[in-house]
Subunit: 368 residues, 2 copies
């Protein structure tokens, strides 16, 4: 059942997940090393399509919650995420048939693979964000009425808990408070659901998308092709249909603070040929809005990616530095992420932004 | 089985619990009104001795966690504490045979009575603090190796959770963080144990003690006797053997701040006859240390109570005000609360105090 993950597809997946992290989500690098370790130890990881599961199969999505900066200092292990899953299984009185990412972008693409290796459960090729978002209620699952509760939470120290919140926003707040007390990061399983609900509410085949993005960038580098053109060509036949270069320039200013457990700030780029031509990107963990000379160029939930101008490699907000040559590359989100309910949850209002959402491809054609 | 709680014994119990609150624990007044409401509605509350239960009967202690100041603004109801109990029962897969206080001092003397009225479960006449303390690991249960986990926590909004921490201090931190997110107060059931363990680890008959303290003060007022002499005579035949007047004076200074969810501060009293003769009491929710002219007069876990000099009525730290006439009255704690392990947990080191513990009756006889 499913496709066995190889070392080379893992590397592609990891780089693609970093692109889908849109500047946040945590660099998957450390997570990738942990998954590599499992593969080298002879464990197998199977990635399956949700259609391979019967309707009533229990799927337990999983993730690491907390500040990405902490993941680097406190290496996550497979024990914590296994404890989280066993805790939720015990609470539900049912065994999981599969796990899946709640967030395919960034570090959290790796956590279900780690759990799959440890427990021999297949990993469903889908997620609830189609990218990275900073909060637990920002899920297509939630938008379509799935309750995140009961969720489980576990620490590296062996602590575990169950949260049964009245809504997904309250669940986020309660879990966030536990995460802080657990040392800034914690393992979670939330949105327990059957395979039929996954089929109805998840963004499909996002692990495959991440792998293909990574593969495209690797091949473009190997063959000395333009990585951005290759990416745009590849995306055209996916549900993320538009890939667009928004800007090329160098970093001239970074304002980055850690506020309420989030990395918030702005980065400003100036074009190489014309220093008066600038782009400013605001972020809360992930990039939220890009403005070129004050005019809207892209806005959440469309993906705003900061990529190395030479190689196409993704650069997270932690790694931004003065003078870097970056290409700001936008990817349009699939229709399931652009419904009025979805935009309300993780579009501009979800982040307290007053702008209206305009699809990135419309903004681009308006300028053209 | 047990003794049915009457309206008049409830009032005595409530006043005695406020004395055992040693300045903190939250004024039981609001809780008493809620319990009265239950009695008037025809519900019965049975207080039983733990010896009335078979060894393997499951006892679920309960409490309201959070800042006492919040209880006044957000009236607790029976639903929240019932949710907490049902959540823990479901997690354990067992029904409770009884509830009991984890803290007989202050507001938390009332919560198990409320749960008993709502669920018809008897309330065991014992607790784990023998007074009031600010944190969940400060329990004779914990000192004697009982795990506070798994514990349940519930909000007024219907949120509920289970915490399974590796130790009781970590449980306190995780539950405190949840409590803050739940609006500053939350209902908990922790230290689930069988009746045999209650017999071995609890401070016995503390609800009876609270009732007798209240009764003694009420009768002294009615009969125009000195309330402090009456209290000392009554305590002599209990395991809290010594009751001592440490000081009489008026409040000349109060320093009170809310820090990390605790009411911390100092109150200073001067003797009526000699303004140079002063007593200073430091508190963290509850009174911790009393010094007379710089010399130690009493220290935690012995009880330092601030009582109205006329009536003997307890005055909580929130109610302290300039010019009040107060009698500082100390009560010695029972032997179970004075073992080296107990002192380590809720004696001076448990509160970061550098003083050594000296029993209050020794300090008094040293001065005499």
């Amino acid at each position: 059942m499913g496709v066995e993950l190889t070392l080379s597809s893992l590397r592609d997946l990891s780089e693609g997940a970093a692109v889908l992290g849109t500047g946040g989500g945590g660099d998957p690098y450390v997570g990738r090393l942990l998954v590599e370790q499992q593969l080298r130890a002879g464990r197998t990881i199977r990635v399956i399509d949700v259609d391979e599961l019967p309707d009533d199969a229990l799927v337990l999505p999983c993730a690491l919650m907390g500040a990405p900066t902490v993941f680097w200092e406190k290496l996550p292990g497979p024990e914590g995420i296994t404890t989280a899953m066993r805790t939720l299984e015990a609470h539900l009185g049912r065994k999981a048939a599969a796990t899946m990412p709640i967030e395919c972008g960034g570090f959290n693409s790796m956590i279900p693979l780690l759990l799959g290796a440890e427990t021999d459960l297949p990993v469903v090729d889908a997620d609830g964000m189609g990218r990275a978002f900073p909060e637990l209620q920002m899920e297509t699952f939630a938008v379509m009425g799935v309750s995140g509760s009961p969720m489980s939470i576990a620490s590296d120290h062996g602590d575990a808990g169950i949260i049964n919140a009245v809504d997904n926003k309250r669940m986020e707040r309660l879990a966030r408070a536990m995460t802080v007390q657990m040392g800034g990061s914690a393992y979670i399983c939330d949105y327990p659901m059957d395979a039929a609900t996954v089929r109805r509410t998840a963004v499909p085949r996002t692990l495959t998308l991440a792998r293909r993005i990574g593969e495209t960038l690797r091949m473009a580098r190997d063959q000395h092709h333009n990585p951005f053109e290759a990416l745009t060509a590849m995306l055209a036949d996916t549900i993320y249909s538009h890939g667009l270069v928004l800007f090329r320039g160098k970093v001239i200013d970074i304002d980055r603070r850690t506020v309420d457990g989030f990395a918030r700030g702005k980065v400003r780029l100036a074009a190489m040929e014309d220093p008066d031509d600038t782009m400013e990107i605001s972020f809360q963990n992930e990039h939220l809005v890009a403005r070129r000379n004050g005019e809207l160029a892209a806005i959440v939930p469309d993906l705003i990616c900061t990529l190395n101008s030479e190689t196409g490699s993704p650069v997270t907000t932690e790694a931004l530095s003065f003078g870097q040559r970056l290409t700001v590359y936008a990817i349009s989100t699939p229709a399931i992420m652009r419904t009025p309910e979805a935009l309300d949850c993780f579009g501009p209002p979800g982040f307290g932004l007053s702008e209206l959402y305009i699809p990135v491809e419309e903004l681009a054609s308006g300028r053209a």
